[in-house]
């Protein structure tokens, strides 16, 4: 018995992703991405990971999409209509046909091999307290390594951006 919530959320993810790819303006693409990620968060809820869903929304839709939007808005000086409309030529049409056939083949294979795939996934409730305890005890070293890695990435990224800026400004003042 297919679960309506699962179908609706999966549909949201897929349709938003297609919209994000096909949208004429980049901004609309980012908005489509946001909706797709919200759909993924909904799927997390169906799996019982409510906490993860909330942080999926905060981190991905609240931060990453914001970063994408900010970058698009400030880097593009035109109104965003960069992508020219072209009629798909012969190669384009063949490409769409092949992609559609591959998609059908994969979907058919999945439906045959995993017959219950239209139902909602299994639901496990992970006690958050347990997760926190594990993070602090068994996986604490991993956490510290993660912190070091992230810190190094930030410092590296910021330095790189700053170096580019400096080259630009020093070149302009010559």
């Amino acid at each position: 018995m297919p679960d309506i919530a699962f179908l609706a959320l999966s549909g949201l993810v897929i349709v938003s992703a297609i919209f994000a790819l096909e949208a004429r303006e980049l901004i609309y693409g980012a908005v489509g991405l946001a909706f797709s990620l919200i759909g993924v968060a909904g799927l997390f809820i169906l799996l019982g990971a409510e906490y993860l869903a909330m942080f999926q929304i905060s981190v991905y839709v609240g931060a990453v999409v914001v970063l994408i939007l900010f970058t698009i808005m400030l880097v593009r000086r035109e109104s965003g209509r960069i992508l020219e409309e072209e009629e798909p030529g012969r190669l384009g049409r063949a490409g769409i046909l092949v992609a559609g056939l591959v998609a059908l083949a994969v979907a058919g294979a999945v439906l045959v091999l995993v017959p219950a795939s239209l139902e909602a996934p299994e639901f496990y409730r992970v006690p958050l307290r347990e997760l926190g305890r594990l993070l602090a005890s068994s996986y604490a070293i991993a956490l510290v390594i993660l912190g070091l890695l992230v810190g190094a990435t930030i410092v590296g990224g910021l330095t790189l951006v700053r170096v580019e800026r400096e080259e630009k400004t020093s070149g302009a003042t010559q």
Partner: protein, 155 residues
Amino acid sequence: MPEPTSRSTDLSNTLYIGTGKSAHRLPTTSLRKSRMGLDVWSLVVIFEAVVFLVAFPLLVFGWLMGAKGKNPIRDAPFESGQTHLGEARQRYMMQYYPYLIMFIVFDVVAMFLFTWGLAFSSVSSSQNYLFLIFIAILVAPLGYASYLAGKRELW
């Protein structure tokens, strides 16, 4: 109840939490039904649907109500009486870009921190220190980001 090593065969439909001897298998459950047989998230959806059903007709009504007719002076962006010059999208606040990056990082850090906070009372104190080290490690890049964001000439 912990089931140490009998999990090598049946990998489907089971989820384990913990490792080694402390691993236990989680039972499958379902969303907690809060009221009227509806789980909590359906209630959120219903509430938002109510808000939508009130706000959307208002929008449509307002759009229908408006007088039509274009007028270049009226349709120009508002600049307190000056005529409209130049393209709107310019790079004003690039110097605060490091703050956006730090936001993503600390967003994820907060995620870990909340799980730690929930488990705090049941964790021994020595294990807590590692978590504090985790936080401390990320304060240094924050300082660097703040320093960069303060220098306008770099951006």
